[in-house]
Symmetry: C2
């Protein structure tokens, strides 16, 4: 199949860029040093490629992601790096023989793990971003409570998410060290073999963690590209120019492509048209101008500003080599 | 079933608010005066409720929406108010006995209708928003070309989308008249019985159109509420507070609910927590504070900032009366 045969909008994954990203990261953080985060692609076929590069443990953000990964035979070591108050569906996954570890940061989430039949936990520690996680000085006590309740505490996790997109790598490194110092201190109180954290933006500078939870590195987006990371843009949204308006009376001309708010995660702003200027997005439209005067019928590969919520809007992604479609993967971990 | 039994995040539709919105709009724009836009809810079960209120024609933004509406038995008069360069799937819907009309604004989209087997078109006219649509003064010539190619030209459409959210109703009315004057002029050149346009924000002031393409009025969002429209907020996203952090050392406390960038369209900014302040959203998290100090396990009904892209992220919506779930509808018009 050719790219020109695809209905638009459609997610495209550049096969060579993806493989380069996976290989480069695996060289830097081999095997268990990386616990790829599937929330960034929500695609078990892509996770299988990460497994082929040596990573057997994965990070998930939702119960559905844990279920889907286990069902796809990728359940050797799944971490739900998020809090849940009903862990029964996770317990059902454990009962199938998969290994599931869940984050806890409170008595309620501890109790949910016990009640749901999940036996292994990490203590989630707040290391600076106001989100989930227990205060570092209270992590040890929560671990004690978890062990007293019969749980296995594998260690700690903490996420310096507020630092991932800082454009100055020196500042990013300095602030990351401040965060991971808190995580080290909590780990000293908690014990266990696992210190999990980090992301694509801090994968090199976070040296305190035994495993890095990076996800965006595989496909990338304009926000992470702006942070100067050594990964290639693998993901685009293929769209078709369905309308053009010529310049007239001092008004510049513009083109309209058939990919809009329902094809792009918009929290980081507009997507980018290489060689063009994006004016705005509507539900099913991207309005832009470009120096090469796009024509009705042209195909445009648009670069998302934020990979994770973009992927969540699509049913499938097409793996391509130039204009050839090599494979089509279901985005099969969507929903909750 | 009770709301407390639902997995979160989950779309909730307040049954009374929805029915009030549908009834109020049907009283104002009865029967064919309203052509409800399904892009705002992507749900054939909700469209069936609109049909029960007397509206038999519908507006669609994608080919998938047209296909799904016809398959659901709601294909009496479907308008794809958008340009397409491949109309073969629309022609296949026509072949099943449904009535499909498609917008055209160029020779290419005219040709696509002919080649795809769609026999009826509207000439899409640009009336002020830089998006699709032919210039008003060229609408008549395009209609002539369409008729010469064997198409039935039912009339014109034009959308004053840039005015929908203006908060000053007087300014909105004044500018709407300017837009619809252009549409009237184009219609005089094009002919046909249909003058289609308008939206939830201009449904009262757009008196030039024979039919209004409003969609958001059914479910509503914070952006349209800010425009002072007489419709009730029917849509919320049910979420669960999974983590809380108490105030400490001058830092205020906060709560984290399990609905984030993958549960809300973000192009109009953060969603709203009634009685609370939203700090930020992450992929699966909403961080907020509230005067009533939310506790872990609390359920929170969050109000989306933009209904259309929010709905597109969910597989289903639950129709509720307080804490009782009356019905569950598939959001079955997603994708392309």
């Amino acid at each position: 199949m050719r790219v020109t045969d695809l209905t638009t909008p459609a997610l495209l994954v550049d096969a060579a860029a993806l493989e380069a990203n996976l290989a480069d990261m695996a060289a830097l953080l081999p095997g268990p040093r990386l616990r790829p985060h599937v929330k960034a692609h929500k695609t078990t076929a892509l996770a299988a490629r990460q497994a082929a590069h040596g990573h057997r443990g994965f990070t998930c953000a939702t119960v559905r992601e844990v279920e889907g990964m286990a069902a796809a035979g990728l359940g050797e070591d799944l971490l739900l790096a998020n809090e849940v108050l009903d862990a029964r569906r996770l317990g059902a996954v454990v009962a199938t023989g998969a290994r599931v570890t869940v984050a806890i940061d409170s008595q309620q989430t501890l109790r949910a793990a016990v009640d749901g039949g999940v036996r292994e936990v990490l203590v989630d520690v707040n290391i600076g971003m106001p989100r989930c996680g227990v205060a570092p000085e209270r992590a040890g006590a929560l671990a004690d409570d978890a062990r007293a309740a019969g749980l296995v505490v594998r260690g700690v996790m903490g996420y310096e998410g507020h630092l991932q997109l800082l454009t100055d790598p020196g500042e990013r490194a300095r602030l990351t060290t401040g965060c991971t110092d808190l995580l080290r201190a909590a780990h000293a109180d908690v014990g266990g073999e696992v210190v999990s954290g980090g992301g694509t933006g801090t994968h090199r500078m976070n040296t305190a963690c035994t495993e890095i939870q990076a996800g965006s590195y595989a496909l990338m987006d304009t926000a992470y590209s702006a942070a100067g990371l050594p990964f290639r843009q693998a993901l685009t949204v293929l769209s078709t120019v369905v309308s053009t308006t010529a310049p007239a009376g001092g008004t510049p001309g513009w083109a309209v492509a058939d990919a809009g708010l329902k094809a792009f995660g918009m929290d980081h702003g507009n997507p980018a048209v290489p060689g063009g200027n994006v004016w705005f997005c509507a539900d099913e439209h991207l309005v832009f101008d470009a120096a090469d005067a796009p024509r009705t019928g042209d195909r445009v590969r648009v670069v998302p500003a934020h990979v994770d919520p973009t992927v969540a809007l699509h049913e499938r992604m097409h793996v391509v080599d130039g204009d050839e479609v090599l494979d089509t993967w279901a985005v099969d971990l969507r929903g909750w």
